[in-house]
């Protein structure tokens, strides 16, 4: 296990592994998202209260979930880089931030469009919505901080620290609907023992969740290759890789 962990610290290994994994992730993402879209939009029955508006869940929930997953990955990669001084941790964190930020925007926009017919407003300063907006600001802060220093290694360390501090917002987002009175509905998928939706609605949602995760993996691999090249362009192995 430790051998595998130390391999991940090697830039040539990460560069090659990312190149090999990206097409697989992307292909599987296309299949699962395609299935989720067809099943969710065509075959899933309308909700007895929300009608067809509930179908927004098939893009809203996966994007919201991914916004948290990408942030947690970014913060953990930053923490690994700080503790074990593994440079690739900073590269993973830098590659993860713009992907997570874009899916946070998607979660906020789709949530707003879902809120209008259900709550009568596009926006409310509700605990879930507000904490998700703070997550977007954290992403922007981490990305800005990384590029604010002339010395890239200082920028990496500062961004990793902010990412770790901001991790406190992740459980706040998740539990905001149970800790405070919220317009937002409670957990849908987390209650796997007794999910509050029938299988005909749940399966396309799980497929979309998996598809978005695979898509994140594909884009992360593609961005990571660029990060590795940017950070290692003076290294001998990069010159050999470019020549070949």
């Amino acid at each position: 296990m430790w051998t595998w962990f130390y391999k991940l610290a090697s830039p040539p290994y990460v560069y090659a592994a990312a190149a090999a994994l990206a097409p697989w992730f992307l292909g599987l993402a296309a299949i699962t998202v395609g299935y989720g879209l067809v099943d969710g939009l065509v075959y899933a029955p309308p909700d007895y209260q929300q009608g067809d508006a509930f179908r927004i869940i098939y893009v809203h929930a996966p994007s919201a979930w991914l916004s948290l997953f990408a942030y947690t990955s970014m913060a953990l990669a930053g923490a690994i880089a700080l503790v074990w001084r593994i440079k690739m941790g900073h590269a993973v964190a830098a590659a993860s931030a713009p992907i997570g930020a874009s899916f946070t925007v998607l979660a906020l926009v789709t949530g707003s469009l879902w809120g209008r017919p259900m709550w009568g407003t596009y926006w409310a300063w509700d605990p879930r919505l507000t904490s998700e907006l703070i997550l977007l600001f954290l992403y922007v802060g981490v990305m800005s901080l990384r590029s604010a220093f002339e010395d890239p290694s200082r920028g990496d360390r500062a961004a990793a620290l902010l990412g770790i501090v901001g991790l406190v917002n992740v459980p706040i987002i998740h539990y905001s609907v149970t800790w405070w009175n919220s317009l937002h509905q409670g957990a849908t998928v987390a209650k796997l023992g007794k999910p509050p939706m029938p299988g005909s609605m749940l399966w396309p949602l799980l497929s979309m969740l998996l598809g978005f995760m695979l898509f994140y993996g594909a884009v992360l691999c593609m961005r990571l290759r660029g990060e590795v090249l940017n950070r290692e362009r003076q290294a001998k192995w990069v010159r050999e890789a470019i020549k070949s």
């Binding site: 009608g51 179908r55 893009v59 874009s102 879902w114 884009v219 593609m222």
Partner: protein
């Protein structure tokens, strides 16, 4: 169900029970975000590769001069 029936089903599908102006923009924006992620990741890699190629050319030119 004949062709007319299919047309009714199709119209119902696109109208999304009266919520079309909320549902379809969500899916369209999701498509934009997924597309932007792919485009920007490819662009980022291409720019990084170009910089690495230029660094290699500069190093080779410096080596020839020496």
């Amino acid at each position: 169900m004949g062709a007319g029936g299919n047309q009714i089903v199709s119209t119902d599908f696109w109208s999304m029970g009266g919520y079309a102006r909320f549902v379809w923009p969500c899916f369209a924006f999701a498509g934009v975000v997924l597309g932007w992620n792919l485009w920007s990741a490819r662009r980022y890699y291409a720019a990084a590769r170009l910089r690495a190629e230029r660094a290699l050319e500069a190093a080779m030119a410096a080596g020839e001069e020496a």
